[in-house]
């Protein structure tokens, strides 16, 4: 069965007809070529495929594209400036908070949601916010540090 969709992805209107079985992650990567959204466990555990749906973080592997008619989706591409890096991306680079980079898009999207709500999160709040995003090589210490540095940068402070 096919479903006709009209939704907003990274500020652009997208119209497509998709199989009812297509996940949002597949739709983004294979139909729209937005391969910054990574697919890890494909059952909602690892967090690599996290995107924003109507401003809230969601696992794109646990959503059907068919559900998103009328929705607004933001991926890591949509959080990346046309030129240079976002404060979070710059902080991840500066803190060596990525090694293989597989988990990074999900980490950044999740941290973006946190910092949109709280510009001065405690270290515990950062750890809680990132608790659903698994990293298997970098280690979490530098990732938490990067989010702290990005929060400071967004507050206009030097970290």
């Amino acid at each position: 069965m096919s479903v006709a969709l009209r939704l907003t992805v990274n500020s652009r209107t997208v119209e497509r007809t998709v199989s009812a079985r297509r996940s949002l992650a597949e739709f983004l990567r294979e139909d729209l070529g937005l391969t910054g959204t990574h697919v890890g466990c494909e059952h909602g555990v690892c967090g690599a495929c996290t995107v924003l749906v109507d401003g809230r973080s969601a696992r794109s592997c646990l959503l059907l594209a068919a559900q998103l008619d009328g929705a607004t989706v933001t991926t890591i591409e949509g959080l990346t400036p046309g030129d240079g890096l976002s404060p979070l991306q710059a902080a991840f680079r500066d803190c060596a908070a990525l090694q293989c980079g597989f988990c990074t898009p999900g980490m950044i999207v999740t941290a973006h949601e946190l910092l949109a709500e709280d510009r001065a999160p405690t270290r515990d709040a950062i750890r809680e916010a990132l608790s659903g995003n698994l990293c298997m090589c970098t280690g979490y210490v530098n990732i938490v540090r990067a989010v702290e540095r990005a929060a400071a940068a967004l507050r206009g402070e030097r970290a």
């Binding site: 069965m1 009812a20 079985r21 059952h43 809230r56 646990l62 559900q67 809680e128 608790s131 659903g132």
Partner: protein, 290 residues
């Protein structure tokens, strides 16, 4: 694409949604999808119709009732429960339970109704609903009915819902239960509990820690959220101190019915229920005292 083929429908009204269930005996409701979509992807369930209820109006509201309780729509997301001042004020136990559900991205999508209807024996909200003596409203083709949460859970992933019925709301009675406690043990934050306990102690009269009634419910320790009537009876009318809480924990450990599985042994779960019951009872008493 991982799921087996299905027809996707997105009804705009409750009547239309019930009609979809009526049309296909193998239809399944899709709310937040945080449990259902993995089951679809692993083909552990193969519904022929998926009825997406996210467009139904009026099911995502949290409303106060005159007796100090709340009516919570089935489509309320866990994140919205946590953000609601009404929920924190009137049902703090439910807010505490919701904080333990998955991670933020899961809580943004997962719904109260979905968690209850999925009926995982280790899930937090079903146990909280039983501890709070909630009443569930179920709508079917013929009529609307209500059922106490304690009668709703029948077995692992099995409830009193009939195939053509839908859970629409949950009512938590007032007055506000200030003597609450909630504790669980999980290997990582956000995982389903290995075991946990939710409790309410209702004071008979003003006075420190004196209880007339208690409700204690274990999860991850049986086939459903499991009431612990023996432990609760021990607390009735007694001033709560550490020795009594320990004794209640011992009874709870004996009366729960856990199983071995890949996550933990039944013996370990039994031990946890004892320790967590003691902790929850002391938390209930402390909150009543403050």
């Amino acid at each position: 694409m991982k799921p087996a083929p299905f027809t996707y429908v997105r009804p705009k009204s409750l009547a239309e949604a019930l009609g979809c269930l009526d049309d296909d005996g193998d239809a399944k409701l899709l709310a937040g999808g945080q449990s259902l979509v993995p089951l679809l992807n692993m083909r552990l369930v193969r519904p022929t119709t998926l009825v997406d209820i996210n467009a139904l109006p009026g099911l995502a509201t949290i409303s106060p009732t005159p007796d100090g309780g709340l009516v919570i729509g089935a489509l309320v997301r866990h994140t919205d429960l946590l953000a609601s001042p009404l929920v924190r004020e009137r049902t703090p136990l439910l807010a505490a339970a919701a904080a333990h559900v998955g991670h933020r991205a899961i809580r943004n999508r997962g719904t109260v109704g979905g968690s209850l209807a999925h009926a995982d024996p280790a899930a937090e909200l079903p146990a909280a609903a039983v501890a709070l003596d909630a009443t569930l409203t179920i709508v079917g083709p013929a009529a609307r009915r209500t059922i106490p949460a304690r009668d709703f859970f029948v077995g692992p992933l099995v409830t009193a819902l009939e195939p053509r019925e839908m859970l629409t709301e949950i009512e938590i009675p007032g007055p506000v239960q200030r003597g609450w406690g909630f504790a669980e043990m999980a290997r990582r934050a956000g995982d389903f509990a290995i075991a946990g306990v939710a409790g309410i102690v209702t004071p008979a009269a003003p006075g420190r820690g004196r209880s007339s009634t208690a409700r204690l419910v274990a999860f991850g320790a049986g086939d459903t959220p499991l009431r612990l009537p023996g432990a609760a009876a021990l607390l009735a009318g007694q001033p709560i101190d550490r020795a009594l809480a320990r004794a209640a924990g011992d009874v709870a450990a004996r009366e729960c019915t856990p199983r071995d599985d890949v996550h933990a042994t039944a013996d370990y779960r039994r031990h946890l229920v004892g320790v967590l019951t003691e902790q929850v009872v002391l938390d209930c008493a402390a909150r009543l005292g403050s």
